[in-house]
Symmetry: none
Subunit: 219 residues, 4 copies
DNA sequence: GATGAATGAGCGTTCATTCAT
DNA sequence: TATGAATGAACGCTCATTCAT
């Protein structure tokens, strides 16, 4: 019994350490991928920064790509949480879209810059698995946005060109997100200018979807 | 005299062959970069596909990056020609923007898919020279679009939030271009669906800029 | 405790193996550089001869030049040890110079032929770092010889043409060393002839410096 | 007849041009080999500097090594002419040796620096033919010096340790020549210092051979 | 004779991944 | 579990030499 307790405690400690190592490696990779990009970061560097051996990195992650995928998924989760929260908070979908935009530019791109970089700067052209993940992320966020757009359309009582339209608009919004985020991330400017750019970008997005829902939208 | 003529003809033919080889290598590189990406394409592959030796590739191009830069510049030139043509043809800037959008989606992305891929799929993180090129391209196209947007604003007789606004809208439009183009290029769909998506995307853009110019725009 | 011991032993063995591999690679490089010269020896050959992969060579040495530098430094150290020992052993500087000469020709050039080849056969024209090393070696040995010559002059109570003279004589001696060594190393002859040549060369050197110290030298 | 004359004239002109081109290429190679070394000079550079195509270089010279060999032979011829002249001019072999030394340091190394560089800086480790040439040069100059030394010995009426001795002394002298020349060529100093160094070096050499000929040499 | 485009073997170096300890 | 030495395929690039014109 005592033995067992002891074992349990040991096991718990081990589990904690395990978890800690795992996070450490992930953080090191995140920082490096964000700073130098996936391709220019070597596994040795990740191991160094995590104060761990290369072998250990490979114990926790199947390969370098797997690391990127984990980080990508985490970043995606973070982003969707932020956007989702805004949509839920807001009573109307238009306001939700507006708030989501600001949350994206002012919160995600600034407070989680490294995550944003991994999501938007890492190019295509990695492994096949990663390619699937990227496609998946676009689809997921598109779907989130699509849903909001569909609400918006119903509220406005208008019809779309076809059932696909809302996902095209979603894609457009994501395009704006990505492009502006990329600019913020690669050429950081002072806070004021960033703020103003974000306002304009959100305006653009809102304009885009209002046009879509047509003139029936009340002013 | 005859000798001279002959020399001239020989020289001409040589010039032609030179040009031809140059184009062949460039095309091979274009196809491979578009299909597999810059990093995953080796110079040996380019040489193979051009039916030429590695040395010859290096005779015509200083290095691998130079090849990418040439292709990038060509693609950019092609794109700007197409967009510029549409803006010039159209009487009003709004119509110009509409036509430009359609030209981009229906002409550039379809007829020059490989060029589009090089412009929009190649990731950041290459050499320093290439990085400058990429930044430059965004700025050039942004400027083209900015100008049109400024016309549009003047016609509408309204003011922007600030002098930077038009370039932010341009960035947004470019974001939409890139995102939708990327979708077309990586997951080609049937022509009809593509057409419809393009219509929606253009609507989105027009909506974005109309909102910007505000309610003073006459219906 | 036992575990600890074991670890220590393991660590020791590993350290030994590490050291052994390091030496093996260095020896392989030494033999090849001595036989074929630096430029004509490829890293692959060094790896082959060490029964190790290319990657391993690069694990132990930053690059090919680094290998040469290590070997060069080792050879230089060896040579200076030998010369220094002779000067210290001998009561008078003239005798010291004589003994040093014989140690150089009969010991260094014969017993450490490969080291001598690396020191004297490798041409200028390698990397910038190596160039510095080569210059440094000439200076160091010159200084060693200079010091002995200065003693000699003081003992003889005579003056030099100018303060630089002793280093010129040192340079001359080094010139003789190099030339004769090069002959020995590239066209090995029977031991007897080698011995006789060494005697003559030492005579030449002694003559050179006696002349320098002038007629005040007692017969 | 007239035709023939014309042909002859044409032939002469052609011969002249041929000769001229040949010399031009050789000079270009000399300058480049002296400046950057054989290995770091490419055939393209030689062609460029000669304002001739690569093919032409290969028309006049079998390969790159052949160029070096020609230059080497020329340099050697020049050097031997200078040394030989001094020995012939002088009545006594000792004086001849002294004059030869000064001619070497003050004339050959200064006025024909590029030739000296090719003779003394180009390292071993080139092709097999070149290796033979280098050996040959040492032997030729050694023989020249040997002969003078033998005269000197006969004049002094003394015997050498053995029949080989004079060629060993010659080798030593050549060693001094090479080492000091190398210093002059790679680290040029002001004329005054150079002059003084040359004086010391010649003193050293004279001392070396006087010692050899033993105490029977009259003061 | 002269050209210069074409060749291709060869090189130094990197780095994701493995595995004995 | 953790280590880190070892692997080796792959890459971009150079340059002496050739040869059709």
């Amino acid at each position: 019994m005592e033995q067992k307790k002891k074992n349990t405690r040991q096991a718990q400690r081990r589990e904690r350490e395990r978890e800690h190592r795992y996070r450490t490696i992930l953080s090191a990779a995140e920082a490096l991928f964000a700073k130098k990009g996936f391709r220019k970061t070597s596994v040795d560097e990740i191991a160094d920064r995590s104060e761990v051996s290369v072998g250990t990195v490979y114990f926790y992650f199947k390969n370098k790509e797997e690391l990127l995928i984990h980080l990508f998924d985490e970043s995606l989760y973070q982003l969707r949480s932020i956007l989702g929260r805004e949509f839920e908070k807001s009573g109307s979908p238009v306001v939700g879209m507006e708030m989501a935009g600001h949350a994206f530019f002012d919160e995600f791109c600034i407070l989680h810059a490294e995550k944003a970089l991994i999501l938007f700067r890492e190019s295509p052209g990695h492994g096949i698995k990663m390619e699937a993940r990227r496609k998946n992320m676009s689809e997921l966020i598109s779907k989130d946005l699509s849903r909001a757009i569909d609400h918006l359309r119903k509220d406005a009582g208008c019809e779309f060109r076809n059932k696909n339209s809302s996902s095209v608009y979603a894609m457009c919004i994501l395009g704006v997100y990505e492009k502006v985020a990329f600019h913020f991330l690669t050429e950081p400017e002072d806070a004021k200018k960033t703020k103003e750019m974000a306002l304009d970008a959100v305006d653009f997005i809102i304009g885009g979807i209002q046009n879509i829902t047509g003139p029936t939208i009340p002013q």
